[in-house]
């Protein structure tokens, strides 16, 4: 299997999904809390989102470190019939 443009695409989808889930968990915690608890836990909810976004941040770092292996894509080879 040769590394192709599919690899970054699935990684990018996973990164976006992971970020979205982390933010969703943070919103859920905020909405679900009592007003007093919500006011006391602003920094806590931000930290919770950061911890749950850590896998996405890791993958983003990995893509940045490895960007030479897949960027720029070579359009002429995509979908070419030989």
């Amino acid at each position: 299997m040769t590394p192709g443009p599919t690899a970054p695409r699935i990684a990018i989808v996973a990164i976006v999904l992971s970020f979205a889930l982390a933010v969703a968990v943070g919103i859920l915690r905020t909405v679900n809390a009592e007003p007093v608890e919500r006011a006391a836990e602003v920094a806590g909810n931000v930290a919770f989102v950061v911890v749950f976004a850590a896998p996405a941040l890791l993958a983003l770092l990995g893509l940045m470190a490895d960007h030479r292996s897949w960027w720029p894509p070579v359009p002429s080879t995509w979908g070419s019939r030989s």
Binding site: A7, I10, A43, G44, V51, F52, A54, P55, L58
Partner: protein, 154 residues
């Protein structure tokens, strides 16, 4: 690979109702890592990066709940006003005891949470995540090839 392992690890430690939600991105990270393998990082460095990500990531998660910071509140449903109560009066270890006479006038609803994430725990958690990202960045950088001296002519 480290992202996939950490995502599955967080899926394991989180609430059971949210557990399955974190599995798909974890699996997708593994698929992406498999398809992009061959980045020039050695096996041992990859294993070290995965271990650091999972262990330090777990430390960051548990740092959020390192200390018990209970919060108690009471609410006046007519006005919608909430009051913060002193938790030391009501929370004793994992048990909560509260009487209606302890509530401020007009308040008929009340509750306590035995643990909340304080600002210091939040700062600790974010710092541990930052340290983990730095460590994994260093571990996953491909080694710089040594410069070979140019051949001399003549």
């Amino acid at each position: 690979m480290a992202a996939g392992a950490l995502d599955l690890g967080l899926a394991f430690v989180t609430l059971i109702s949210l557990r399955l939600v974190f599995v798909p991105p974890g699996v997708m990270f593994f698929v992406a890592a498999r398809q992009m393998r061959g980045a020039g990082v050695g096996l041992w460095r990859s294993i070290a990066a995965v271990l650091v990500a999972v262990i330090v990531g777990a430390v960051a998660f548990f740092a959020l709940f390192a200390r018990e910071d209970p919060i108690c509140w009471a609410r006046n449903p007519t006005t919608g006003e909430s009051f913060r109560l002193d938790p030391d009066r009501f929370v004793h270890g994992s048990s909560i005891s509260m009487d209606s006479r302890d509530l401020p006038s007009g308040a008929t609803e009340s509750g306590c949470t035995t643990d909340s994430i304080s600002t210091s725990e939040a700062v600790a958690g974010i710092s541990v995540v930052a340290a983990m990202l730095g460590a994994v960045w260093v571990l996953s950088k491909p080694p710089v090839p040594r410069a070979t001296p140019a051949a001399t002519m003549g």
